[in-house]
Symmetry: C2
Subunit: 598 residues, 2 copies
């Protein structure tokens, strides 16, 4: 009896490998259809997985997974892999708190041999795995699957180059180079233009099979078998179409890289809910306003024109945008080069991806005091993308860098002013803002510079000072309102700048009130509250400082609001912490209070 669904009968890849090859086209069709249904009903990363359905089936059919290890780059394209490795049913919950990660996770499955989220890591990881296999004489393979977008990352080159060095040892590294012409946006770079994957890999000492049509399953199965049979590191060059099998996604894979739920038939997406524009959109708008009056402004994106709003900027100023590829290291130093000649580059890069450019920010920008602005989107907790994508290290690593200004706006009006501040300051300047909808406040007609290092006292008080930053400011205000209802008078300071801190206002509050509570959407170690502690320890010792933020852990994927609650960035927790801080600072037995003694 032929089952209704071959796919449902595949609980693990071994089941797939028991099928005759003649059945695999049906598996491909079923899997593709299921992924489209999933996308329609649930959304998620969409076009990438559709493009590699045949490849996913072929890899699991030919390689003995999980004994042979497949390392998927980034993981955007891993939904089919999840479906074939025991997670078909749970895919309906993907990216939700109770469901699978949107990327690969070692903790999720023995078939996810190496986690992913940031691009370009797969060859490095797979080469390490292949070397470990070789050392213990295990006859298995490590297969990295990387797109031509991911291959623009310098570390992918580093890994290929190292693989060429190690070729004589014969580690069983296999690289599938999946050329679909796309990062999220259309791919860039000389290699993408030339398409000469064979020449590139040959120069690095690596043999190349292909190119093979990644939608010709029979040819692909042959090619993957040939790849497996190589000795030593080898590359299979596959050409695929991102979004394959769903016409709207094939036609516009850029827009269909990720999607919310949509109508299966025509691909119609429901109109966005009305509400405030995103922080990203507000940033793009502000940048356009400033660029319109300042011809020195140019924008840099690292393969994320959509996510950073640089695509909107590019529509208006097409000659003033650089997409450098997934190349944050180069992007930062390229910006420094532009700045050294009088331009005012704005690097629009997600917080977690800018980690790749840390050394360049310190060594090429800050040390040379060059006027590069870092517009850091997706700072703080990002929701469904989870721990690889949170921007919760930026304040710690940026504020340590001498001379760098670090700021965060509490709303989109302040965003435009801080962006003007950054660009006109002539200094290295980092500006972070979160994912999601901005506040819906009115914009002043013109972005204009604010005094660097000046916070804003939004509300005065006498019992406790809430010192907040960026997106936590409205939460702190709400906590202050709750405290007021409980008879506690809270001052609320929007610090605006993490570096330099507003010593005058902070010091005055500390001296007068004596109890300070800092609030930040960032790890507590080395973050904003830590900066406040540093200042007050020397400026106003004896001040009681408590800090609200993320303790020492990785925050799992969930709705963004839930994550904020999880880490205690909600009104009730903040208000309770303020009360606790007050209680702790009041000496027992009615003794004169700390602050009273000053």
């Amino acid at each position: 009896m032929i089952p209704d669904s071959l796919l449902d009968a595949i609980r693990e890849p071994a089941d797939l490998r028991r099928l005759p090859h003649a059945s695999l086209p049906r598996v491909v069709d079923e899997l593709r259809e299921r992924l489209i249904e999933l996308g329609a009903s649930r959304g998620g990363h969409f076009a990438g997985s559709l493009g590699v359905v045949e490849l996913t089936v072929a890899l699991h059919a030919i390689f003995e997974t999980p004994r042979d290890r497949i390392v998927w780059d980034v993981g955007h394209q891993g939904y089919g892999h999840k479906a074939l490795t025991g997670r078909l049913d749970s895919l309906a919950q993907i990216r939700r708190a109770e469901g699978p990660s949107g990327f690969l996770r070692r903790s999720e499955s023995p078939f996810d041999v190496f986690g992913a989220g940031h691009a370009g890591t797969s060859i490095s990881a797979a080469l390490g795995i292949a070397e470990a296999l070789r050392r213990r004489g295990e006859d298995a393979h490590a297969v990295a699957v990387i797109g031509d977008g991911g291959a623009t990352a310098g570390m992918a080159f580093e890994a290929l180059n190292h693989a060429g060095e190690l070729a004589a040892l014969g580690p069983a590294l296999r690289v599938v180079y999946n050329e679909n012409g796309m990062s999220i946006a259309p791919n860039v770079g000389g290699l993408s233009r030339s398409g000469d994957v064979r020449g590139y890999c040959a120069a690095l000492g690596l043999p190349v099979i292909g190119p093979v049509d990644g939608h010709d399953l029979e040819a692909l199965l042959r090619a993957v078998a040939e790849l497996r049979a190589q000795s030593g590191p080898a590359v299979l060059h596959v050409r695929t179409r991102k979004g394959k099998g769903f016409a709207p996604a094939e036609a516009d894979p850029y827009r269909w890289h990720a999607t919310g739920p949509f109508e299966r038939a025509g691909g119609t997406r429901p109109a966005g809910t009305s509400g405030p524009p995103s922080w990203t959109a507000c940033f793009a708008e502000a940048l356009m306003r400033i660029a319109a009056r300042d011809p020195r402004v140019v924008a840099i994106t690292a393969a994320m024109p959509d996510g950073t709003g640089i695509d909107r900027f590019a529509e208006r100023f097409p000659e003033r945008v650089y997409d450098v590829g997934i190349a944050e290291q180069h992007g930062v130093t390229f910006a420094a080069g532009l700045a050294s000649e009088g331009l005012r580059p704005v690097c629009a890069i997600y917080s977690s991806f800018l980690q790749r450019g840390f050394d360049q920010i310190a060594h090429d920008v800050a040390l040379q005091d060059l006027p590069v602005t870092f517009a850091i989107d997706r700072a703080g907790l990002v929701g469904a993308d989870g721990p690889t994508h949170h921007g919760v290290l930026d304040l710690a690593y940026l504020r340590a860098i001498p001379g760098l200004v670090v700021a965060a706006p509490r709303d989109e009006n302040q965003l435009q002013h801080l962006l003007a501040t950054a660009i006109e300051s002539g200094r290295p300047f980092a500006l972070r803002f979160p994912r999601g909808a901005a506040c819906g406040v009115a914009l002043d007609p013109d972005p204009k510079p604010l005094p660097i290092g000046r916070g804003e006292l939004l509300q005065d008080g006498t019992d406790v000072a809430l010192v907040a930053l960026g997106k936590t400011v409205p939460v702190a205000l709400a906590a202050a309102a709750r405290l007021a209802a409980a008879g506690v008078s809270a001052a609320v300071l929007d610090a605006r700048f993490v570096k330099p801190l507003d010593e005058e206002r902070l010091g005055e509050l500390a001296d007068r009130i004596g109890v300070v509570l800092t609030v930040e959407d960032h790890l507590l170690a080395g973050g904003f509250g830590s900066a406040v502690l540093e200042l007050l320890a020397s400026r106003s010792p004896g001040t009681r400082v408590r800090r609200i933020g993320i303790d020492d852990r990785f925050v799992e994927h969930a709705e963004q609001d839930d994550q904020w609650r999880q880490v205690g960035l909600d009104v009730a927790t903040i208000a309770d912490a303020a009360l606790a801080a007050l209680a702790a600072s009041a000496p027992p037995g009615g003794r004169q209070s700390e602050r009273g003694r000053r």
Copy 2:
């Protein structure tokens, strides 16, 4: 009249360009001779500059510097450039506090159009410069000079790939690819093995001139003129011999990359002064001891086997070493791959270079809780190499990463124990230690694990607690002795771990003594003292904490001891700070002290 020295008459490159080409060989000879004399008398980066004497002369002879911008990668090879650009006489003071930097510095000369120190940045910077020139219609060139070693850095690939993307716009980027087969050590990588620079660049869409013999001045002048005449980005492939013209350096360019003073005639170097072995040597010894008993241990270096001591390890365990090239990003994730399969890799990377691997430490190692040990040499202030090479950001960026253990040994015996702790912990673990001579203490027979997060109270006291870390511990002990002479009783705690901190011992000291002074060879923002502040603010509020460390600035090149004094890391400053903290914490008018009240 022919002057005695053509070289001395060249005050700037325009003087060079006024000479007939027939005189240039003499300039080359004079310059090379002067560089050898300089090396013999003063030491410094030696072999690199000797290898590019002809190239340096040819570039300044053909390009209209400084209108044409030359960007030297790293700067090791920039001594000849300095000599031809008005700094011939000051070279005698190179790398000293009063003299020029050992690298390129924008602040030093208009001919140093972009600073350097870390490898692989030049093409990015030059492409940014070339784009800025193109935008304002300036008919000038930006020339990056990069070695095949520097080109193993992923960002150099990213920049070449971006140059290929921009080729149609025609930015006047020129890249001189100087192949000498060396990083500091012999170069590695598939590209280095194949030597197929033309194929590599062609795949990225860039035309290549050459290869040209970089010591054939006439051919070189023609090739550089041809390079200059290109339209759009182009590469000149030059082959040179590192150390050219000084036989001992030609024979062993690895050993002659940098040198102290030596005897001009035979290249004899004076025997090293006797004294304790370096921290690096102690690390290598400890690693060998541990590797001898633990077959899981493998070592990774990013093109620095000499500087990190991995060369010694490699002599004993040649099969257990990976030199990944100047590829810290890859090196870290490669280590994570090895660790995911049960090995215990040790990444031996200088602190300032590990900045390149920050994202990978967080994303690939810590998030996946993989047992990679980071053996971080050159932490703290490094002396003559100056601000590009200080390791004064590591505590801030590492301790922010969830789950990562961060430690620092106070002497080489603790180093071996902490290294065993790291490797046997099964956790992501960072261990930092400084440049220079270790302490000369005796080693216990076997490295054995210490309790993670446990400090060591070296001396008890009652008035003030000095809390130190790593190399600052002996200084804190000396400060305590000075305080004792002044009648002040100081406790000294060696924290050993920055993360997790020793809450028990720190808390006990804080509660009992009430005044804490932290000492660290690191920037104050987010560093060790900041971690102590964080802990005590919640654990023991009311403790007075003062911090000694580096304030918000880049510390210029000088002798290491002088740098320590400059930033206040000397016995007198620490003792004075302790006295000041005590005075500030004692209430005026003999009122009962803070700590007395508890």
